[in-house]
């Protein structure tokens, strides 16, 4: 027989007591800000506060969509996330397949260790490294370019380079780390399949194509669906650190725009309206992709 609610509360009191501070944290720092989105429907003024600021309905949403910036930053966000998915997604799979084919254990471990390392560097350090290595006057890359007889390129001041720099640095940082899950999936493949393939005369490439890849297909599809869901969730820090006025045509994304226009210039209501609009789209994307992956492979974020 199930005890009454009172009885259950009494039985679980220690656990509820342990949980309470955590829930307080979630309310104070996650749920209170969620209710803060009402300021996107107000003319919020820091000094008048919530009670004193007038309601303005959808004014700031309209303002956003009538603004030329809206199209540019939405396009930049989608493209940056899209390119990262397009080029960043296959990288760890290829790496995992190659690592799996290595015979030398020590070399394999070395390559793995080295490839995880960049994942643990802070965004500031990685961005600083990029700025230094790409510097037109002192950076190593430009020395090489000049040595080959070409003029130096001011990579970080030219809008057309931004996406390339961002996506390749993300791959540099994450390919190794993301390969872990695919390597784990490969270990679950039945070794007899490889023996059978060898008997049938399949070479190494054929084995990868016909045994290894099908063996990790489920993992690949699930990871892909989950990443589509997060395509708009581009880390603020790196884009913020590497972008500047000269490259805003390609480098200004929603989060950096909201920071600049909303927080620095004090357009609190306007910034919140943009954030909310994109937050809803992001929510739909993540929710849909999770539903999809759950149906496909009984795996999901939650």
């Amino acid at each position: 027989m199930k005890p009454s609610i009172i009885g259950q509360l009494k039985r679980d009191r220690i656990f509820l007591l342990l949980l309470a501070p955590v829930l307080v944290y979630y309310v104070l720092f996650k749920y209170v800000p969620m209710f803060g989105i009402v300021i996107s429907f107000m003319d919020y003024n820091l000094f008048k506060g919530l009670a004193g600021s007038p309601w303005v309905g959808l004014k700031y949403y309209r303002q956003f969509f009538e603004n030329r910036d809206a199209f540019v930053i939405i396009k930049n966000t989608v493209l940056l996330g899209g390119y990262k998915l397009l080029f960043g997604f296959p990288a760890p799979i290829i790496l995992a397949l190659m690592l799996n084919e290595l015979k030398g254990k020590i070399f394999k471990r070395f390559v793995q260790s080295v490839s995880y390392l960049p994942y643990f560097l802070s965004t500031v350090v990685v961005s600083s490294m990029i700025v230094m290595l790409l510097s037109p006057s002192t950076g190593w890359l430009n020395h090489m370019i000049q040595r080959m007889g070409f003029p130096a390129i001011n990579f970080l001041q030219e809008a057309e380079w931004f996406r390339t720099i961002y996506v390749s640095s993300e791959i540099w940082q994450q390919a190794g780390w993301s390969s872990i899950i695919f390597l784990a999936a490969i270990t679950t493949i039945d070794p007899q399949l490889y023996e059978a393939a060898t008997v049938d005369g399949a070479g190494r490439l054929k084995q990868i194509w016909h045994v290894t890849l099908p063996g990790i297909a489920t993992t690949v599809v699930i990871m892909f669906i989950l990443q589509i869901g997060q395509v708009l969730e581009i880390g603020f820090e790196k884009v913020f650190l590497l972008s500047n006025v000269a490259t805003y045509d390609t480098s200004d994304i929603i989060s950096t725009y909201v920071y600049r226009v909303g927080l620095l210039q004090g357009g609190y209501s306007y910034g919140t309206a943009i954030d909310l609009f994109m937050g809803v789209i992001g929510f739909v994307l993540v929710y849909a992709s999770n539903k999809l992956s759950r149906r496909y492979g009984e795996t999901s974020l939650w």
Partner: protein, 288 residues
């Protein structure tokens, strides 16, 4: 399986070798430039091997008060933040790992929802501001106190502990709290270690909170200092004067030295803790 080495293996090893070099190259190059003497750096002659080895750049870095203050602040944030985050996450994860916890599903849903939807930058800023946390240590620690992701990983781990162990604890007369402290936590050392490492790395590298919540120069973490020196190009009088001394410290060497000093702790401990990180990545990928 066949053991002979064919063209396939040669190409594979070669490509992975190049890949490993690409991973390591920036570190080696930075290290080489940071200890090379000015004339070689200016002449762009330093590639992978230092020329005219000296440690003037590091002397200059360690004489810069801002870096020392930043280091100290970051260490405080990491120590305080990791401890608090770990305690809160463990308490939450353990309670929520109870299968029949009253309102357990509701609480879980409430936590998962925050992974999907947030108030966004400005409401978060305004809320932290209204709590009076701007320009305090707490602004670096409290807003990110519990990561839902790590909480779920830990909860999954706790759920995997056999119930019989807990029941035997009850028979031995342990209270619910006693079971947590005497039985569950000692069994959970690996997950606790892994999660605290993740928290520590995250807090160490946190630039965002400092950017929006901190104005006071005395509270700036190391990441902000690195950015100011390397990317914005501020350098204090101390570094300039030490550069003017008898030996020239060129700005480029100095900047690389700053970056490396900021990376040093993780580079030093990385080889020893790598396997715990990997374990964490695996835990995150399997759902219980």
């Amino acid at each position: 399986m066949k053991k002979h080495t064919g063209l396939f293996d040669v190409v594979n090893v070669l490509l992975l070798g190049i890949f490993a070099c690409a991973m390591l190259f920036p570190f080696v190059h930075m290290a080489a430039v940071s200890v090379s003497s000015a004339e070689y750096v200016v002449g762009n002659q330093v590639g992978l091997w230092p020329k005219g080895i000296n440690f003037d750049a590091y002397t200059a870095v360690f004489q810069d008060r801002r870096i020392l203050v930043g280091y100290q602040n970051t260490l405080v944030y990491v120590a305080l933040g990791t401890t608090l985050s770990l305690i809160f996450t463990t308490m939450g994860a353990y309670s929520l790992s109870r299968r029949n916890l009253v309102f357990g599903r509701t609480f879980m849903l409430m936590i998962v929802f925050t992974m999907l939807f947030t108030g966004g930058l400005i409401p978060t800023y305004l809320v932290v501001r209204s709590y009076g946390l701007l320009d305090t240590i707490w602004a670096m620690v409290l807003p990110g106190l519990v990561s839902s992701w790590y909480l779920i990983i830990m909860r999954t781990f706790f759920q995997g502990i056999p119930r019989e162990l807990e029941e035997s604890g009850t028979i031995d007369g342990l209270s619910d709290l006693g079971i947590l402290l005497r039985i569950v936590l000692p069994l959970s050392k690996p997950v606790i270690l892994t999660i605290s490492l993740f928290y520590a790395v995250q807090i160490w590298g946190n630039f965002f909170y400092a950017l929006i919540f901190i104005r006071d120069a005395g509270l700036m973490p190391l990441q902000v200092i690195i950015r100011n020196i390397v990317m914005i190009g501020q350098y204090s009088d101390t570094t300039v004067s030490s550069a003017i001394g008898d030996k020239n410290v060129i700005l480029e060497s100095l900047k690389y030295a700053v970056i490396l000093v900021g990376t040093l702790p993780i580079m030093l401990v990385y080889p020893f803790i790598q396997k715990h990180f990997v374990k964490g990545a695996m835990m995150g990928s399997v759902k219980g």
